[in-house]
Symmetry: C2
Subunit: 136 residues, 2 copies
DNA sequence: ATCAATTCTTGCAATCATTATAAAATTAGA
DNA sequence: TCTAATTTTATAATGATTGCAAGAATTGAT
């Protein structure tokens, strides 16, 4: 799955988000690191580049990005929120051995039609758990 | 979706879980309340019947039940873990207005085969978000 | 029935992720 | 430049979950 992104600043502006230094860095990070990082991973890694960075900024920024539709929030395990720059529908596979989260294609539109008449569906999520090929 | 359950004590024994008073009560509660309750809801409601009940016991019991395959853990939102007595594959719809979680039938076996060759899939989850008919 | 060993429950403290808040820094516009 | 609005930062507060040790209940053997 190869997807191209606008340059971070332009992407922010087009979503009505002001392109501050920190926001651009966080967005660049998410584009480079499509491994579904946690708040902590993002914070730890960016601290090198931005010594004054605060974890609050990461939380604020991710919340803002999610509200603007720039990113997707992934909650597979309790107490382990992850963030995904890929907003298109796709499934996630989490390896219970190594913890890695893989993307996979899934035809969500082919899913569930019957039981949900009268419901307004706004977001569809699919995730599997198991063991990845590396760990098998 | 109507499903019948063994009597709680028998169900516990058949899963090698000792049927203590508290465990039976929690299991009965989950069978009666298939609304995907939180730890807090279970605790609050059972406190009436069991005045000495501790929240630790609820946590311990649910963890044990999940490990024994008696229940399923649902994490749709961060920081809001819910528990489901229905262990068969089915989808969940969460209403973002009223917070209710509905079950729906979903053919998980028809899902994703291609991308995941070489992966050992052990658990499949599908959840949607949106607005339920009552809230529309 | 008694006793010791094991298991379970309880209460409380500790931890960890997330949110709230207010001051300091930055930015935008006049 | 000056002022107002926005953003970042640091720190405190919250809330869910886990860890732990003592007490209670249960089991199995005598
Ligand atoms: Mn993804
Ligand atoms: Mn369910
Ligand atoms: Zn793995
Ligand atoms: Zn609703």
């Amino acid at each position: 799955m190869k997807i191209s992104f606008d340059d971070p600043s332009t992407a922010l502006i087009s979503r009505k988000v002001r392109p501050s230094y920190q926001r651009i860095k966080v967005l660049e990070y998410l584009i480079k690191n499509q491994c579904h990082p946690t708040v902590d991973q993002i914070f730890q890694d960016l601290q090198g580049e931005i010594p004054t960075l605060s974890k609050s900024t990461i939380y604020n920024t991710l919340k803002l990005f999610a509200a603007a539709g720039l990113i997707r929030v992934i909650t597979i395990e309790e107490n382990e929120t992850r963030y995904d720059i890929l907003t298109e529908d796709h499934g996630h596979f989490k390896c219970e051995k190594c913890g890695a989260i893989y993307n996979f294609a899934v035809d969500v539109d082919a899913l569930a039609t019957g039981d949900l008449t009268g419901f307004k569906v706004m977001e569809k999520n699919v995730y599997f758990k198991g063991i990845c090929p590396k760990c098998l």
